[in-house]
Amino acid sequence: MSTVTATGIHHRSYRAELRLRHTKAQYVRLALMVGLLLAAPYVLDRYWLGIANTILIAVIGAVGLNILVGFTGQISLGQGGFLAVGAYTSAILSGRAGLPVPLSILIAVIMTAAIGAFFGLPALRLKGLYLAIATLASQEIIMFIVRRWTWLTEGQGFIEVERLSILGWSIKRQTFEVQWYWLLLAITIAVVVVARNLFRTALGRSFMAVRDQDIAAQAIGVNITRAKVTAFAVSSGFVGLAGALTAHYTETVTWERFTLDVSILYLAMIIVGGLGSIAGAVYGAIFIGLLPPLLTEAVEALSTSMPGLTDQLPAIRNAVFGVAIIVFLLVEPRGLDRIWTRLKDYVRFWPFRY
């Protein structure tokens, strides 16, 4: 077991150190969170459950992006394009080719991972700012293909996806959001656990070594080429999963859902949440996901005293979004995750400052 003292957490054995959770407080918080997640569908109405589902999908995408940007240090502005690859692949395979949905989602994940690895190839020669611009180009090129290649949508400009049904278990209209909630919750938890454990393996550690100091990483025997391309593939795989789930959940696939703005939205999530932290990606996705509905509520509450505010809603939303990014970068560049850690420390050491 491990003991917690004011000087920190002390491990008494290697096994104890390797655990994901060390203290009683962590288990209590886990139990609380599980309780909240289980209670959500009974407490929330359909509108808020829909927002919860969108957030769950965003969590998967943000975790994927954080693997690449936060843990491997490779900047990517191509998130929207990779989401599009996942969504289109799964929609076309399940709809037109008639494959079962789980299989089509799996193929979409592999497909996105492959395309992600391909567009990650510039990372072998480019760093930092140049890489950001190269991924910007990949985003624009994927969007161009998606918009112009009419074969993808059979000339309609969008794809309609059938309501999800897996092996006889089908989503019903009445309980649409609730059923999706359970499905997405299960997938999201699996993704978070996989990602969390990825960074306890040699592969995950090699990603972090590349981020911290690539030359030193090479000196201790990390194959940088392999690490970078794998990071792009693994990250894009998660993003492809998020894209495929978006396709089946929203039941229509259009290119407008995957523009550069979406890439920026996801980058904002991991910045606000905390770069290089799985929990941070989750917090960030929740923060950015809750921002629009909460702003809508606030504006509606104010609209009696300030009419005309409702028309400005999209602009206000963008302004708050931009201000949130700037304020987080200036005040707490390590995001919500760091704020949460500091809060816990404050409680733990009280009444002392540190």
């Binding site: 930092g128 161009f144 980058l267």
Partner: protein, 290 residues
């Protein structure tokens, strides 16, 4: 032949505007190593400020232009002092994201105050046409090329001759050496953002005069990336060459092949350049092991 001449004139004028927009981008990168994703929004703010002074406040053209320059200077100083300076020394991703956040804020502020509809602005440049070799060419396109050429020449003269211009080049070359020679690096950083905002103002006003005063002006900011990568991220002559190349290429592709394809061609060029010669045509070759 007629199509060719008119496509060339349109391409050159687009290219001249791209070069102006890219100039501000390169100034900021050269002096401060910041990639400014809000360059398009600087154009947008410039165009709307000039519109406010010229149309809403009914000021004479020259006064309106001076008002625009004043706002651009304030914008440059405020952005540098309060947003970029605290981030000096932070990672590339932080710097990129802060300019993306800035672009969202600027764009939505314009939307809140002016709405999304297209604003009417009387033409500043003469709108007539002249006929060259049987082709009618709008005069304002030709004038845009001329104005851009004058502004770009003025800027390069500033860098070659004036004290501040030389100080900026010194800082771009070696910050520590410049500091030991008594150059205020802070002031140079501020100056870079101010000059970038002013050149964006000129580009924004000219662009608005050719098209319209509307939100789409900001989209110009993204095509700046292929331009600067082609010319070299830290090269002022590179912006001219890059701007003209991309401008002409877009017009030729859209005229002879497919207007949709013209949107993506700059990015294809960008990828090709990044693979073959990442530092661009005139960019400083920095060998960096990856």
């Amino acid at each position: 032949m007629n199509t060719f001449i008119s496509l060339t004139v349109y391409g050159l004028s687009d290219g001249a505007l791209l070069a102006l927009a890219a100039l501000g981008f390169v100034l900021i990168y050269k002096a401060t190593r910041v990639i400014n994703f809000a360059q398009g929004e600087f154009l947008l703010v410039g165009a709307y400020m000039f519109y406010t002074a010229f149309v809403v406040m009914r000021l004479p053209l020259v006064v309106a232009a001076l008002f625009g320059v004043l706002v651009a200077i304030v914008l440059g100083v405020v952005v540098e002092r309060f947003i970029l300076r605290p981030l000096i020394g932070e990672s590339a991703i932080s710097v990129i994201m802060v300019t993306i956040g800035l672009s969202a804020v600027l764009k939505s502020l314009i939307q809140i105050f002016y709405g999304t509809s297209v604003r009417e602005q009387p033409p500043i440049l003469p709108t007539g046409t002249i006929t060259v070799a049987g082709t009618t060419i709008p005069v304002n396109r030709l004038l845009v090329i001329g104005i851009a050429a004058i502004v770009l020449t003025a800027f390069s003269a500033f860098f070659q001759r004036s004290r501040h211009g030389i100080a900026m080049r010194a800082v771009a070359d070696d910050q520590q050496a410049a500091l030991t020679m008594g150059i205020s690096v802070r002031r140079v950083f501020t100056l870079a953002w101010v000059l970038a905002a002013v050149s964006a103002l000129i580009a924004g006003v000219l662009l608005a005069d050719l098209s319209a005063v509307e939100q789409n002006i900001a989209a110009f900011g993204l095509i700046v990336f292929p331009v600067v990568i082609l010319g070299g991220l830290d090269s002022v002559p590179g912006t001219v060459l890059g701007g003209l190349t991309i401008g002409l290429l877009k017009q030729y592709v859209s005229g002879y092949a497919d207007p949709g394809l013209a949107e993506v061609v700059p990015y294809l060029v960008l990828v090709a350049i990044l693979i073959v010669r990442p530092y661009g045509i005139f960019g400083e070759t920095r060998i960096e092991r990856v």
